[in-house]
Each structure stands twice: as C-alpha cells, then as structure tokens.
Symmetry: C2
Subunit: 377 residues, 2 copies
C-alpha cells in the first residue's frame, strides 16, 4: 500500500476498488461484488502499526481531509485530521472509507447491479452498522492492514468504532467514540422515520426508481434533512445563532416566505443537501442506524459485546447533544468497565449540540491527541 | 344567551354564528365577515360572573367536552371539563371557540370567501395569536359576556390566555396557562417550518388550491404531523411506551415497513390526523404561533405586556415538556411578578412531555380546581 500512496502528490487520492467479497450481511444476503471508495493520507509504517481508520457519519463521506468533489468544500474533519493535527498524515496512515449503502462511490442503492445492469435502487439489500464494518474489514484485508492502531468516529462513525471493537477485538488496538451511542432510541427511530416518510411521500421518489429520471425526490429529501438537522443542533445553539431574528428585513411579511433567519437557514440546509446526497442512500443508512443495538445479540447485556476485549477506549460526549445525550455514552462506559476494558470518558461543554464534534473543539482535539499519544501514536 | 343554552338537551350544541366584524388583524387587514363555531356548556348566571373561556391548541377544536363530529371521539379535555370536574357546567358557563384560521367551522382558509364564492385558500390573511383573541372578543361581545371569570388554555391555548390578559386586562379576572410560553423559540419555529415545507412540497397541495380536488395534500400533512408529534412526547415517554420493541413480530424484516412499534405509531398519528384537519389551516396556525412573541410590541420587555394588570394568573409546566419547557413558564412568572401581578406557578412531574396536559393529570386538576375556587368559582 505504501508504495501506491501519495505518488501523484494529491492529498487523499480518491481511491476506488472493487472486491469479490462477499460481505455476509446480517439479513443473510451474501453481497458481492463490493465497490469501495476511500481516501488515504500518510504512509503505513514498516511494522504496520500506525493505521487509523476514520468512520464517517450518516451523511458523511470518505473526504475527511480532502476536498469534496461535488461541493468543492474542504474535508469534513480537517480540524482533527491534517498536518500538525492530532491525526497527522506525517505520523499516521489514515484511511476513511465511504460506508456500504452510501452514495460517494462505495456500493449503495445508486450503484449498478451487475446482475441487471441497472441501479440496485430498492433491490439493494437492507444493511446494518455491522455490515458496514464487515465490508470495511474486507477492504483492509485487501490493503494488507491487519490491525488498526485506532478506529475513530463521531455519531454513526462512533457506532462503527464500537462495532469494530466488538466484532474484531483482535484487530482494534484502540477506539475513539464521539457523540455516539450503543443503540438507537425510540426518539432517534421516530425522527428517522419522519425523514423516510418524507422521501417516500414524494411522488418523484417513484418507489426508488428515480435514477435517470428527470424527476428526483429532492423535495422529500430536503424535508428529511431539515427535520434531521434540527436534531443536530441544540435549542440553546439555535437561540444563540438565530433567536427570533427576521430575515433581511425589519418587519414580518405576513406571508409564508422565510421570515425568520432560522427558516431560511433550514431551507438552505435542505436544498444544499440534495445536491450531494442520494435519497435511497438516506433510507438505507437511517435504517441501518435504527437497527443498531449493540447489546441485542448479547441478550441485552451490553458488556457482553465487549467481553475479553483488550481494546483501549476513549469516549467523548457533549452536554448539549440531545440526539445522543451523555447518558448514552455513560451506558457504554459502564458496559466497558463491566467488561474490564480500559475506558476513559469526558463530557465536554458546548452550545452546539450534536454537531459540536464537527466544529472547532480544541478540548476534543486535546483529548484525542493525548489518547493517541498515550497509545504510542 | 342563557335561554338558548341546553334547550335541546344536547351537550355542547355545535353553535355557529356569522358576525359582521371586522376583526382588525395585525397584518393591517380588516377581516369581515367572521364565522364562528363554538361549544357552550352550562348557563351564564345572573350577574354574568361565571363565564370560563377555554382556548384550544394548534390542532384542537371547540369540542372540549363534546363528541368530535368527524372522529366520533370524546371531547379533548373531558378530564378537566364536565360534571364533577374542576370546570363544571353545573357551576360555570363554559365557552370554547374554534380559533380563527382553523377548520372546524370558524373562518379559515377552507371557508368560502364571500367576495369570490370560492374557498379563501392562500388568500386567507395571515393571522396572529392576537388576531384569534380579538376575534373571540367579538363573539363574546355578541354573546353579552363582558367579563371572563377565567381564560384557560394549554399550549397554543395558553398563548391565547396570556394574550387575552394582555390585550383585554379589564375583561379577564383570571387566567390559567398550561404547558405554554410567551414566545416561540428558534427551535419551535424550526419544527413548524419543517411541517410547512412538508405540506408545500406535496404536489397535491397545488399552491393551496386543493379544495374540491381529488388530490389532497395528505402525504405532506401526515409528515408534518409526524414531525410535530415527536415534539409532543418526551424521549423518556417514547422509551417507556415503545423502546426498541418490534411491531407484531419477533425479528427485523430487513425492509422499509414499520418494523418498530414507534414507527407504526407515528404513521398512524399522521394518517389519522389528515382525516380531521386541513393542510392550509396547519400552515396558517403554525405561522401564527411562530409570530407569537408577547414581549415584541413592548420593546422586548415581557413585564410591560402585563403592566397594571389585575388578572390573577396560574401557570403549570411539565418537567419532561421540551417543546415549551419549564424555563419558558418561569420567564412568564418573572414578568408577571415584575408587573405586580398575582401569579402562582407549579412544575409538575410527568413522563409524557408536552402532551401531559391532555392526559390524566390529577395534580393539574387539583391545582386548577383550587385556583378557580380561590377566585370564587
């Protein structure tokens, strides 16, 4: 792998590969072949002990520290990953893989089904977080990375990090789990269901067969994104940022245009999202998250998901995150303690809700830096 | 009024009247004529000192203690209003008026515009909570009720109760404000905007001109209701009621049907709502709520909205209500105290979130009963 990395001077490299697989899915399906789109930064060292896997969130992608090809925006976690940052390509071999089911190059509902030559659409199999992780393991096998020095993820990325440690305890030296949970709550499921219903209620969704059609389910996907976006922000953060401020004018219009700044902001979030994301992928990935309950296969006892683990864990939550509140991180830490695992946990203070992990968070960076260095990274 | 009441033995009476008005709206429009649909229970006493106005919430109606004509369900607040209850037709003359902008008989977007002979649809003027209250005052004038012994409301009903006391201090002897607020927050506005966008994204909405059409914006309205419904329940309540329980089966389907009970419940909430509510009314009433900020006209100083008031106030909040959390009630109480008003406040404990005020709440009933009796009611 090292000899293929960085030769053309590009940062990230926009790597693609198709592997035979199959991925054994939780549904029983043997999914094959499997396409992977991923980014790498830095070189694998001689004893292959510096590999760090970064797992992305629901609407994230592999462009953790490189420019997004569609939006032209910088990577989504450049605050954490980059030269001189806690996760540093000068020292670490960093891999970020577009998750199974997504739409940035890895196999998902928009991918072509080799059996039909058409996009899978809703014939794509329903997947789980564990399926995403098993697929990633196949790619790492291919890359010759047997052992991960660390798996790092926020939100759904944290679910993957926990699942990595649970499914492949011998391959994960340490895991950093940020603003995440070991199970989706009824309220989490409810919000996702609203989003799915918004998409499926859009006539342009066409039962999922909108690929190649002029009519795209943009309206439904935008509404789904708007609803979800509220859950990423705190009430306090929204009040600080927008309050009841009116949009570009002094008085109310007594109409249904975006009068308040918060309305305009939300509409923009919805509209810009549909430019970069696939509606069917949104259905599949939210489903995977709703199915997520790490304790389920262990009789509801979360500690058993980590029995005998030697992985070191670091958990971080944010006090204003009401999507995956601190209590969920504490549940994980208690389970890890019960399993005899080394686990550190910090709740950070932030007004920005769930989104805090993607924003400027110097304390989070210090914690991650300290944790990685304590592990010789 | 007394002689017209209860003659046919029906409880409630399904009263209708059309008044010349006009209602002077905050938008500057003089709206006329004004249709009113309302229910009354009990008789106005000789000195007209026992009139209690009950104000309903966003999707509520005048059928506070009588059977809903479309759903056949009992009144929405029979736990509080009825024989032997704190608000008792044996002692009180109880009035509940369908709010301006709604769809159960009072003037709203589905009403016929006498100027065109067609439904107003989106030509209905944008209204405010104060407009609703001013319309109610016109009806009470017509009924010969000069002074209200009490105005009672929960949620948007509480906003009306506060506005009654602010706009017509001499007409309101006491006010009971439950699970409410004196202003809509950025988060409140955001959730309403998602609902409005869901409705307006539905092609069957047809710019609001769907009346008489086969195609109704049911899908959009159902999604709006689902999103709103999550805000009426607490995370704790959803977990207690549904948790991650699967729907009528033991294992996941690995599909997009309602696998979890909470999904099935939400879908039912959405579907049953469209049977009884008008999508345009939902747009107009959510807009009125978003525009609501009682302090706005008083330079942002809420106390000034109540200066010189002699109304007695009783406020109740619920600890798990995150739509209008306790802090909002406390803000109102502080303003009332600053204005020298008599105000009592209690935060009740309940796992049921905002919806708690509509559910079995013996403590709430005791508080209301005590407050009314202390006022000679």
């Amino acid at each position: 792998m090292a000899q293929n990395m960085g030769e053309d001077g590009r940062f990230g490299l926009d790597r693609r590969t198709k592997l035979l697989g199959p991925v054994r899915l939780d549904s029983g399906v043997q999914f094959a072949p499997v396409e992977f789109a991923y980014e790498t930064y830095g070189e694998l060292n001689g004893d292959k002990s510096n590999a760090i896997l970064i797992c992305h969130a629901l609407t994230g992608d592999q462009y953790v520290a490189s420019t997004h090809p569609r939006t032209g925006k910088p990577g989504w976690w450049t605050r954490l990953v980059g030269e001189g940052k806690p996760v540093d390509p000068a020292r670490h071999c960093i891999i970020c893989i577009n998750v199974l089911g997504s739409c940035m190059g890895s196999s998902g509902p928009a991918s072509f089904d080799p059996g039909t030559g058409e996009p899978y659409a809703m014939d794509f199999p329903v997947i789980t977080i564990a399926d995403m992780v098993r697929a990633q393991a196949i790619l790492l096998d291919h890359l010759g990375i047997e052992r991960l020095a660390c798996v790092i993820g926020g939100s759904m990325g944290g679910m993957q990090a926990l699942t990595w440690a649970s499914l492949f305890p011998d391959r994960v030296q340490s895991a950093i789990v940020i603003a995440s949970t070991a199970r989706h709550s009824a309220q989490n499921i409810a919000f996702h269901e609203v989003g799915r219903q918004a998409i499926m209620a859009d006539p342009n969704w066409q039962g999922g067969n909108y690929y190649g059609s002029v009519d795209q389910p943009d309206a439904g996907l935008a509404v789904a994104r708007m609803a979800a976006h509220i859950t990423y922000l705190s009430e306090e953060g929204l009040t600080q940022k927008f309050g009841r401020q009116l949009q570009d004018r002094d008085t109310k219009t007594f109409g249904f245009d975006a009068d308040f700044q918060v309305e305009s902001y939300l509409r923009h979030q919805g509209l810009s999202f549909v430019e970069r994301f696939d509606a069917n992928s949104y259905l599949y990935i939210t489903r995977a998250m709703d199915y997520y309950d790490l304790a389920e296969e262990h009789g509801g006892v979360l500690a058993k998901a980590f029995s005998g683990t030697r992985t070191r864990f670091c958990l971080v939550s944010f006090d204003s995150d009401w999507l995956y509140p601190t209590i969920e991180s504490k549940r994980v830490v208690q389970a890890l303690n019960a399993a005899g695992a080394a686990a550190s946990f910090v709740e950070l203070s932030s007004p920005f809700g769930h989104d805090a992990f993607l924003l400027e968070a110097p304390e989070m960076n210090r914690i991650i830096d300290g944790f990685l260095k304590a592990g010789g990274l």
